[in-house]
């Protein structure tokens, strides 16, 4: 089966209806960039897959691939479709048409049934078909040498792996996922069972500890009822009331203990207050107070007397002072005409002086008498202050003793009140009785506590029995869960082994298939001669579970990181051509190449032309798009073959409307035969 024609309108750069009638031999499409060469091959891709598979990026802010599939240039296209006609070896024809409105005119399955046999990859046949039929500039590197080793193996699997039957690895992977999920769930159940058993064991340990303290329960009940006569059976069972009673008794015992201590102190204080020493001391203080009060009284009276003499003394003192001043003046003035200036009495100077001196002596005596009176008063005043202080001291001393008695009375009253509150009746403070009550309270509390412990021990027994049964049950459950876990883990292990086995078998088969293809790959590599030094390539199809495909040249050198871009492309081309030629499931004997010679020098372009010529001899139709007109000439010359069918060259360009168009199409006739023989004969 071959491509018979490609017709397109309103598709990509072709606005007008354009038809490429492809001869059974080969077609060379050439033209400048943007002239529509690649679009012709894109049309085949689009007709079969509904997209153009060379774009790695399909969306963009200003419109993605889908917005640029159809004509977006000036004016409107009359229609929007691509049609690819195929002709079978028996001359039957069928056309695959995909329109902008309406999509594919046949079902995908119908198209597949015409182009492929039953071994085609059912779900992805169209993509695999195009990827292995159409070798594009964009994919030569991306799908060959520059692929990661595992992706390269996957590309081989896509191309030839369908010969191996359905991919069971997906099924075993699903089985493994389910088994692992089951195992994970079972692990959770085991953990839960372990947790519950652990909790039960802890409870059992506590219950057993209580049980060890089990005593005579009847005696305990008797003790409780003796101490707490109103206790009910329910209260005994629950133990709550008992625990409250014990707590209350302990609180009261503590309070009573404090009161007994205080009573002990008060008794001591009472004994002290009523002691003879205290009474003597108090009487002494009273007497002392009375004495000092009397002394104060007498001192006050003496002071009052002294105070009345003080005014007379002050008068005499003032008189003496004035007299002294007058005498000084008189003496200073002296006799006036034989007369005393003070009393006008006739005096002689001697009499005058004697009189002055005598007067001064009198004045001095007056002054001394006044001073004596003052000193006496001061002395008495001091005596009053001392007596007052002594009275205060005595009062204070007496107050201390009386205060002690008073505090004692208050404390005794408060103690009685608090004792009554605690139920300790009695009009007098009986210390021994209080102490006995306290001891009795503590004794009863201890007995209650003991009785409660005994009762609690008896409930622990039931609890131990319950928990032991529960523990046995949980152990059995855990055992079962562990058994199930072991089973699910065995299932996981088996599923893993199955998954691995399926992948290994798939890879083994793929490796065998690839080994079948390998000589062709090596031959194509030798023909394309990517590298002058390394004329042979080797491969390593490794990985038991995850297949990988590595290329090596020379002594284990990796061409991926050694070859130049052009050399890698040439090597990649060998790989893609080998894959294309090895497809067993494809009925279409057409190879499409879109500008396969970029970055390749003239010598290797020539090698490629020779390889394509050799491929032609496998009865394949070749449709190749190249930009270089000289290379188009070369291909037209080199692909010509009378025996292998005609060729045609299409020179593409742009029309006045801006649409890509066929500027010229001409058949490439077969070359003359037996030139050398004719030349020899003519020579």
């Amino acid at each position: 089966m071959r491509v018979q024609f490609v017709e397109l309108e309103g598709f990509r750069g072709f606005k007008e209806r354009t038809r490429f009638d492809i001869p059974p031999g080969f077609a060379v499409l050439t033209g400048r960039n943007g002239s529509g060469k690649s679009t012709v091959l894109d049309a085949i891709d689009f007709a079969l897959t509904g997209t153009i598979n060379k774009y790695s990026v399909r969306t963009a802010k200003v419109g993605g691939l889908d917005e640029h599939i159809w004509w977006v240039g000036e004016g409107k296209a009359s229609a929007h479709y691509v049609a690819v006609g195929f002709s079978d070896d028996d001359q039957s024809e069928f056309v695959v048409t995909r329109r902008r409105d309406g999509g594919l005119d046949a079902s995908d399955r119908e198209v597949m049934a015409r182009l492929c046999d039953s071994h085609a990859p059912a779900n992805v046949w169209s993509n695999t078909f195009v990827q292995t039929s159409l070798i594009r500039d964009e994919t030569i590197s991306a799908l060959s040498m520059d692929l990661p080793e595992q992706a390269r193996a996957a590309a081989v699997r896509d191309a030839i792996g369908t010969m191996l039957g359905p991919d069971e690895a997906k099924r075993t992977a699903s089985l493994l996922d389910s088994a692992e999920a089951l195992s994970k769930e079972q692990s959770k159940r085991v953990l839960q069972a372990q947790f519950e058993l652990s909790r039960a064991l802890s409870g059992l340990t506590e219950a057993r500890s209580l049980l060890e303290g089990e005593k005579d329960i009847a005696e305990a009940e008797r003790v409780i009822r003796a101490i707490m006569p109103n206790t009910t059976d329910e209260q005994l069972t629950t133990g709550e009331a008992l625990r409250n009673e014990i707590a209350e008794r302990k609180r009261r015992a503590a309070t009573l203990g404090d009161l007994v201590a205080r009573a002990d102190e008060i008794v001591s204080r009472r004994a002290h207050v009523e002691s003879e020493a205290f009474l003597v001391g108090k009487n002494t203080a009273l007497e002392k107070l009375a004495n000092v009060r009397r002394l104060l009284e007498s001192s006050r009276r003496a002071l009052d007397n002294a105070s009345s003499l003080e005014s007379l003394a002050n008068y005499r003192n003032n008189f003496a002072h004035r007299m002294a001043t007058l005498l000084d003046v008189g003496e200073a003035v002296g006799l006036l005409d034989g007369h005393c200036p003070l009393c006008a009495a006739p005096r002689t100077p001697e009499e005058f002086l004697l009189a002055i001196r005598s007067s001064r002596l009198g004045v001095s005596r007056e002054r001394t008498a006044g001073q004596d009176v003052q000193r006496e008063r001061d002395s008495l005043s001091n005596a009053v202050r001392s007596a007052a202080a002594a009275v205060l001291d005595a009062e204070s001393e007496l107050n201390v003793l009386e205060e002690e008695e008073h505090r004692l009375i208050l404390d005794e009253a408060r103690l009685f009140r608090e004792l009554q509150e605690l139920g300790q009746e009695g009009s007098s403070l009986d210390l021994d009785r209080l102490r006995n009550n306290l001891l009795q309270n503590r004794e009863e509390t201890a007995r209650l506590e003991h009785a409660m412990f005994v009762l609690e021990s008896s409930t622990a027994h039931d609890r131990v029995m319950t928990l032991e049964a529960r523990t046995v049950q949980l152990r059995d459950q855990l055992e079962r869960e562990n058994g199930d876990l072991a089973a699910t883990e065995r299932v996981v292990e088996i599923a893993r082994r199955l998954d691995r086995a399926v992948k290994e078998v798939a890879n083994q088969l793929l490796s065998e298939q690839f080994d079948t293809v390998l000589p062709l790959l090596k031959e194509l590599y030798q023909r394309l001669r990517p590298h002058a030094e390394w004329s042979e390539i080797d491969t390593d199809f490794g990985g038991h579970v995850r297949a990988s495909l590595n290329f090596t040249v020379g002594d284990g050198v990796n061409p991926q990181f050694l070859f130049s871009s052009g050399q890698r492309r040439a090597a990649g081309l060998a790989f893609l051509l080998a894959i294309h030629l090895s497809r067993p499931w494809c009925r279409l004997h057409s190879l499409f190449l879109d500008d396969p010679v970029q970055h390749i020098d003239d010598y290797r372009a020539l090698n490629l032309a020779e390889v394509l010529s050799a491929i032609r001899k496998t009865d394949r139709q070749i449709i190749v798009a190249v930009e270089d007109a000289a290379l188009a000439d070369l291909l037209c010359r080199r692909l010509r073959s009378k025996r292998l069918g005609e060729g045609r060259r299409f020179d593409l360009g742009t029309s006045k409307t801006g649409s890509a168009t066929i500027q010229e199409a001409f058949d490439v006739p077969p070359l003359p035969s037996w030139v050398l023989e004719t030349a020899e004969l003519s020579a």
Partner: protein, 179 residues
């Protein structure tokens, strides 16, 4: 040691070329032609002679068949010269001989030395020959191999694991039940 000229001739004949030997001043030359190309195979005693004489040989042959080339039209662009010798050369000679091939003037040159076996000759003539290998991939019965593996790992599910009609949950159940 093979008869290089006859091996070249027979290899080309096997590739559907018409061939015949013609005489030359040095040694016989094998002429070959099919419906797309024509050429000449020349044998040299050693790499040194090949390096020294190939251009002279090419010129002589082109001159000798010039009239035929003129009548051949475009086919005259598809003229091949095969320069071969059976002995080894040193590294420099090997490289120089490779450069001959990269000389794209006038004719397409195939230059090869150290051609000791028929395989060597085939490898050298590859640009002229059809594809040597045509992989014939046959459908493999993977199911049988898989069943054999599954039988060894989990006999209970040998039949159901590969049966798409049985869900994986059912397979899992069967597997668990078998343990």
């Amino acid at each position: 040691m093979i008869d290089l000229l006859s091996v070249i001739q027979s290899s080309l004949q096997n590739a559907d070329y018409r061939t015949r030997l013609v005489s030359s001043e040095r040694s016989p030359v094998v002429c070959f032609e099919d419906d797309s190309l024509l050429g000449f195979g020349c044998i040299f005693a050693d790499p040194q002679e090949l390096l020294a004489k190939w251009r002279e040989m090419e010129t002589a042959l082109l001159a000798r068949y010039a009239a035929g080339f003129r009548r051949a039209g475009d086919k005259a662009w598809n003229v091949y010269m095969v320069f071969a010798c059976g002995t080894k050369g040193d590294a420099m000679e090997t490289r120089q001989i490779r450069w001959i091939e990269e000389d794209l003037e006038r004719t397409r040159k195939i230059a090869a030395i150290d051609l000791a076996t028929r395989e060597d000759v085939i490898r050298a003539l590859l640009p002229l020959l059809p594809l040597q290998y045509r992989p014939m991939l046959r459908p493999e019965d993977a199911a049988e191999r898989l069943k054999s593996r599954i039988q060894n790992i989990a006999p209970a599910i040998t039949q159901v694991l590969l049966d798409p009609a049985v869900s994986t949950d059912e397979v899992l159940k069967t597997l668990r039940g078998s343990l």
